[in-house]
Structure formats: structure tokens, C-alpha cells
């Protein structure tokens, strides 16, 4: 176990939870830690490109893609979302209070060398293709995450 390593499983695609996981990741990296974030299930939506990407999909995959938020800018809150109104209000308040946006946090995490891993099994289940996700990701499965978690002093599931 290495107290200098941290791993985070990002399971949720809620704005608040995504923010929390990215703030922790940025903070840990700024403490000199090696941070690995493993994005799985709804967490993958954080990594979607905001623009529509043409990809060959089955009917169900296409339907999934249409139903899920397209990128970090479209995420809703886990509580108090009210069809997007809560998330909209939250973004205004965060801007007033000079909290970094989710895009800035994602950019900063990458800048600080945080490993961003997309779970390929979840991608397959949800019909998400590599070309639909942002650049600079690693594509791997549970063994890669477990390998990193084994060496880490802290492991979070968000």
C-alpha cells in the first residue's frame, strides 16, 4: 500500500457527485498524489463529448445515447434537480462564488496528471463508443482499476 496513491470509482453521472469526485482528485493531485479515476456506468456520461458524434449503433444503443446526458455540461443534480432547474441554479450560484466549473476541474485534473480510465464493459453495455468520449482517456477494465486500487492508500466509490 502506498499512501501516495489514490483511486476513485466514479459511478455516478450526477453533477454534484461528479464535482465532488473531481475536487477530491484535484486536491489529491495537488498534495503530490498519483490519482486514478475509474469512470464506470453513469460516470461515463461525464466524459461524453458535448457535440453529437456519428457512430454505428444498434437501436437500443442509440436510444441509450439519446436518453443519457451528453457530457459534463448536461449533468443534473442527484437531489433538487427539478428537471434541470436545480442544476441551472446551482451553476449560477457556483459561478457567483467563484467555484471552478466541472469543465475546469476536468481540465485541471488532466493537467495535474490524473489518470482518467473509461470502463470498456460499461461503454459496451451503454453503447458508448470511443469517438463519443473526450480525448486523453485510457480504456480498460476492472483488473486495471484493481491493480491501481491495490497500491492505493485511499479508494472511493462515488
Amino acid at each position: 500500500m502506498d499512501s501516495n496513491k489514490k483511486t476513485i470509482i466514479v459511478f455516478s453521472g450526477d453533477l454534484d457527485k461528479a464535482m465532488a469526485s473531481l475536487i477530491i482528485a484535484n486536491g489529491a493531485a495537488a498534495m503530490g498524489n498519483e490519482v486514478t479515476m475509474f469512470f464506470t456506468f453513469w460516470g461515463l456520461n461525464i466524459l461524453r463529448r458535448p457535440e453529437k458524434v456519428r457512430a454505428r449503433k444498434t437501436f437500443l444503443e442509440a436510444l441509450f445515447g439519446w436518453m443519457m446526458p451528453r457530457g459534463a455540461g448536461k449533468l443534473g443534480l442527484s437531489k433538487m434537480n427539478f428537471g434541470g432547474m436545480g442544476a441551472y441554479m446551482m451553476k449560477i450560484i457556483m459561478k457567483q462564488k467563484n467555484v471552478s466549473t466541472i469543465h475546469e476541474l476536468l481540465e485541471s485534473a488532466r493537467d495535474l496528471g490524473v489518470r482518467l480510465i473509461a470502463c470498456t464493459m460499461s461503454m459496451d453495455v451503454m453503447g458508448l463508443k470511443e469517438e463519443e468520449l473526450i480525448d486523453g482517456l485510457e480504456y480498460a477494465g476492472v483488473a486495471t482499476y484493481l491493480g491501481a486500487a491495490d497500491e492505493a492508500g485511499v479508494n472511493l466509490f462515488i
Binding site: I23, N26, G27, A29, A30, M31, G32, K97, N98, V99, S100, S108, L112
Partner: protein, 77 residues
């Protein structure tokens, strides 16, 4: 030995420590970093950051909601 001033007023968590970490990477051992922040949590955070990154917290004070810290970059080898 150089002195560096880092203005993090108005930045929210984790802004100040991320800035400080980046600035510290460009410093040499013995350099002094003076940082100002208005994020309330920074007062505790800076002590934790120094302990974890093995840098020396020379002073820490708060005045009118502004937290000022002086940090000496320690040779990490």
C-alpha cells in the same frame, strides 16, 4: 533563494492548493512562497498540504478574512 507571491484571493477549494502545488514545482529548495487566500478552509488545508508535501510552513495568519501563509520549499530528495 527566491521569494514568490501567489495571490489566490477569491479562489475556492481546491483552487489555492492546486495553484500552490504548481508554483512549488517551479521553485528550488529554500525558496519562499507567500500565498494569500480567502477560502476559509485554506487555514487548515495549508497545514495539511505542507505536512503531506514535506514543505515547511513558516507562518500562518488571518486578517480580515484573508489567510496569509509563508512556506519554504524543502529539498525533497
Amino acid at each position: 533563494m527566491a521569494e514568490k507571491f501567489i495571490n489566490c484571493r477569491g479562489l475556492q477549494c481546491p483552487g489555492p492548493i492546486v495553484r500552490l502545488f504548481k508554483e512549488a514545482q517551479t521553485c528550488a529548495a529554500g525558496d519562499i512562497m507567500e500565498i494569500e487566500a480567502t477560502d476559509l478552509g485554506f487555514k487548515k488545508d495549508i497545514a495539511a498540504w505542507c505536512k503531506k508535501t514535506k514543505n515547511e510552513l513558516l507562518s500562518l495568519e488571518e486578517e480580515n478574512g484573508v489567510i496569509k501563509a509563508r512556506i519554504k520549499k524543502v529539498d525533497q530528495s
